[in-house]
């Protein structure tokens, strides 16, 4: 129950903990156009949120949690234009 890294997608599943932050940064560094799928993410640690805010990857699905979804949507949507 964590981040599952596929070829071009990082799938957040269940509770995603602080330890994953480094791996996520690594993934996004290797795949600058990699996508983040948050549809199955029930909660994430602040550090992961920070990675998403800082790197603004393409978010292919928002988390079901409204608060988290709003925070992420507000930060990453401008980039969807270029996507």
């Amino acid at each position: 129950m964590a981040i599952r890294f596929a070829r071009t997608h990082a799938h957040f599943e269940g509770r995603c903990a602080v330890e994953e932050a480094l791996a996520l940064v690594e993934f996004l560094r290797k795949h600058p156009r990699g996508k983040v799928a948050l549809g199955k993410c029930t909660s994430m640690h602040g550090a992961l949120l920070q990675v998403i805010l800082a790197t603004r990857p393409i978010v292919s699905s928002l988390p079901p949690d409204p608060l988290l979804a709003a925070l992420i949507a507000a930060a990453v949507t401008p980039d969807l234009i270029s996507a």
Partner: protein
């Protein structure tokens, strides 16, 4: 137990505060006074340590800040000016107010966190090299939130919330700037901000702009600032964020003028027409509109579908989401984006009135009172603190009082002599009787006084028991054993000296039980016992003794093993060992140099254990006994005198002088017909209850002429038990028993052996009290 602990903490804290305050004043006059600095530091440090025992984070935080400042003063990193002294004194006053609250209510008031954070922030702001300290606001009325706080929120949402605030609802803005290293301390700022109750909306922004490249981005350095809006009360927010208060600022959302002004017209038009989606949502919708406008693409459409679906779910628009699903299905079926585009266009224009843009929050009953009321000024006003009912008195003063009462007792004992003189010398029986009556009253009063002063010196054994729960737990964990500690009779009281001296012997016994007595859980289960062992500490009063029993249900002591170990270690010979009964064998563990532990552990088994117990207890006039049942456990019983101060002695006449003998030793008094005294070689003996008892002529030992034996009555023999042996002391005559206060031999007499002290007789004569253990 906890209440007792708290009571003592309160007392101690007040003293420490007093010490620190006077020390600070000394320091203000002379900032270089190292003694004063150290004194203040130590007091505050102790206070911090003790406060950690209680669930009072506010108190601890404040004292901790004070300690940090003092530490810098101590190391010279900071000089103490009167500004800092003022701050410290203020903080100490606040701590004093907290202590009063604790004393009165047993807990701190709801705003304690805020007050503590404010004071702590003010103190930390003075710390050299710490410029980032946030001085929390303590203002009675929160300042309105600056506009930039709200910049992170979508316009529509912001306006909706502002409108709610203007409508009279108390909306708080919480600005949370987590520490940069917070990820390393296990803090999850996201979770922390989510803990704020009754959240309306949250926004997050970078503290410093995100770097353009990901190469030098450190995911474990927190660079976020959260702003949350909530309808919860200030106390509730502070409660929720209690561990992060240093990093939190609070503001109210309402305009400063709003509370006074009449409610604004209900239809304040928002700057931008409010919509269902809010700014971000609209952005998403518009972007997706553009995406699908480029033509039908099954993959893209699916992604759009998921995104909008989630957006609607996040807005809790379940009906709309159903519609969206239908439109999406239609579009896929027709391989045309038109139904989707039409839905999105409608969505873009949907008015806010259909549903609130933010998660629905139950309207709070307007209760701004707790927010606007000023926190009570520390200690200045407020009801007067009830005078403390406990006195702390130097032990020396009590001892002095005790001695004086002792003198009074002695003086009182002179009255019967006086009465006899009145009768015999002056021939006035009436005078004698009156003196005796006076004596009876005086006797009662002095006895009551003595009792009262004893009470002062009495302490509950809880004093020594207190440390065992923690100790047992720690040791048991280290040894991988499961032990339940049961304590009974903790309020049994005994003399302070005794209770305090009991600590070490008890420690040894408990350690021995845990180390050697109690088995590992697996062994216990194999032996048919529950895996969790029980260690029982019991105390009770038995006449003039206090008995403390340490019982475990471990493996017990094996007398055979004790025998063989004792022989191996040369404590006894094989023949002696074989002659011992099981109980006597068990008693061997009290011999010096005895330890059965196969390997020396750091817990017990250094070979100094039990004989130390025995000698300590005996020094205090107590007794130790061990009984053990192999496989069922061991019971160690310490029997201590209730009070050290008064010793009961028997006065005897030896060679024309009077001596005292502690009554503990006396087994019985008897008169021996000279014919029953037999001789074994040069020793005289007699037989008492089938036991051969050696006789010792005390006049030979102490000097003086033996009185002529009255043939009709026989020799006066005091049968005593010394170190487990029975001896008969041949004396001249028995006198009365009496309670005396023993004065140890001092000065030139200190080295004279054989006496445990002196006391005064009623007629002023000095009575020497014999120490039989030293004599024989």
């Amino acid at each position: 137990m906890n209440a007792v602990l708290l009571e003592r903490f309160v007392q101690e804290a007040r003293e420490l505060l007093q010490t620190s305050a006077s020390g600070l004043l000394t320091l203000e006059r002379d900032p270089t006074d190292a003694t004063a600095i150290n004194e203040v530091f130590r007091a505050v440090h102790t206070l911090k340590g003790s406060s950690g025992l209680f669930d009072t984070p506010a108190l601890t935080r404040l004292v901790h800040a004070g300690e940090d400042v003092l530490q810098q003063v101590r190391t010279g990193a900071m000089t103490l000016d009167s500004g800092v002294v003022d701050l410290l004194l203020d903080s100490l006053d606040q701590v004093g107010a907290f202590i009063d609250q604790l004393d009165r209510d047993g807990t701190l008031s709801g705003d304690a966190d805020r007050i503590a954070t404010h004071h702590a922030g003010a103190l930390r702001a003075r710390l050299a090299g710490d410029t980032e300290a946030v001085v929390a606001v303590i203002d009675a009325v929160l300042a309105p939130a600056p506009a930039e706080w709200l910049a992170g929120f979508p316009v529509a949402e912001r306006e909706a919330l502002l409108a709610r605030a203007r409508g009279g609802e108390a909306v708080l803005a919480v600005r949370y700037t987590p520490d940069e290293g917070c990820f390393y301390t296990g803090t999850d700022p996201l979770a922390a901000i989510r803990d704020v109750p009754d959240l309306l909306a949250v926004a997050v922004a970078p503290r410093a702009p995100w770097s353009a490249t990901t190469d030098d981005f450190d995911p474990y350095r927190c660079n976020m600032v959260f702003t949350a809006l909530t309808t919860a009360s200030r106390e509730a927010v502070e409660q929720a964020m209690t561990y992060e208060l240093d990093a939190v600022e609070l503001r109210t959302l309402a305009d400063a003028a709003a509370p006074e002004a009449p409610p604004p017209p209900p239809h304040t038009p928002p700057a931008e027409p409010a919509t269902l989606l809010g700014e971000a949502g609209r952005h998403i919708v518009r972007t997706q509109l553009r995406v699908i406008a480029s033509g039908y693409d099954a993959v893209r459409l699916r992604s759009t579908g998921a995104l909008i679906g989630n957006l609607l779910r996040s807005l809790r628009q379940d009906d709309l989401r159903d519609h969206w699903e239908i439109a999406l299905a239609e579009a896929i079926a027709q391989e045309d984006c038109a139904p989707v585009a039409a839905f999105l266009a409608r969505l873009d224009d949907a008015p806010v009135a259909t549903a609130p843009a933010a998660p629905v929050v139950p309207l709070l009953a307007a209760d701004p009172a707790p927010q606007s009321s000023a926190p009570p000024p520390p200690a200045a006003t407020g009801e007067p603190r009830p005078a403390s009912k406990t006195l702390k008195v130097d032990q020396g003063k009590i001892d002095l009082l005790m001695n004086l009462i002792g003198e009074l007792v002695v003086q009182k004992n002179a009255l019967p002599f006086l009465a006899r003189r009145a009768e015999e010398v002056h021939g006035s029986r009436e005078m004698g009787r009156e003196i005796k009556e006076q004596f009876a009253t005086l006797d009662r009063l002095t006895q009551e006084m003595q009792g009262a002063i004893m009470q002062i010196r009495m302490l509950p054994v809880a004093e020594v028991f207190e440390r065992f729960p923690r100790l047992v737990r720690d040791i048991a964990r280290r040894l991988d054993k499961q032990v339940e500690l049961v304590m009974e009779g903790t309020d049994t009281a005994a003399d302070k000296t005794i209770v305090e001296a009991l600590g070490d012997p008890l420690l040894h016994i408990v350690r021995n039980s845990l180390d050697h007595g109690i088995e590992e859980p697996a062994t216990r289960v194999a032996a048919g016992k529950p895996p969790v062992a029980t260690l029982r500490l019991r105390a009770w009063q038995d006449n003039d003794c206090v008995v403390i029993e340490i019982a475990d249900d471990g493996r017990g002591i094996d007398p055979a093993r004790i025998r063989s170990v004792a022989v191996d270690k040369g404590v006894v010979t094989r023949e002696q060992a074989d002659a011992l009964s099981d109980q006597e064998a068990i008693n061997l563990i009290y011999r010096p140099g005895f330890s059965t532990a196969a390997e020396v552990s750091d817990l017990s088994g250094r070979g100094v254990g039990m004989d130390v117990v025995l000698s300590t207890v005996q020094k205090l006039g107590g007794r130790v006994s061990v009984s053990s049942q192999l496989g069922h456990g061991t019971v160690t019983r310490l029997s201590m005198p209730l009070s050290m101060a008064v010793t009961r002695i028997m006065v005897v006449d030896i060679g024309g002088s009077l001596y005292g003998i502690p009554i503990d030793h006396v087994v019985q008094t008897t008169r021996l017909d000279p014919t029953v005294i037999q001789r074994i070689k040069h020793r005289e003996v007699f037989v008492l209850r089938d036991e051969v008892v050696p006789l010792i002529r005390m006049t030979a030992l102490l000097g003086g002429q033996p009185a002529a034996v009255d043939p009709g009555r026989g020799e006066a023999v005091l049968v005593c038990r010394v170190e487990g042996r029975t001896i008969g002391l041949v004396i001249d005559d028995f006198r009365e028993g009496m309670d005396v206060i023993l004065k140890p031999m001092t000065g030139l007499l200190a080295d004279v052996g054989g006496y445990c002290g002196t006391t005064l007789l009623g007629d002023g004569r000095v009575l020497l009290v014999l120490d039989l253990k030293e004599l024989f």
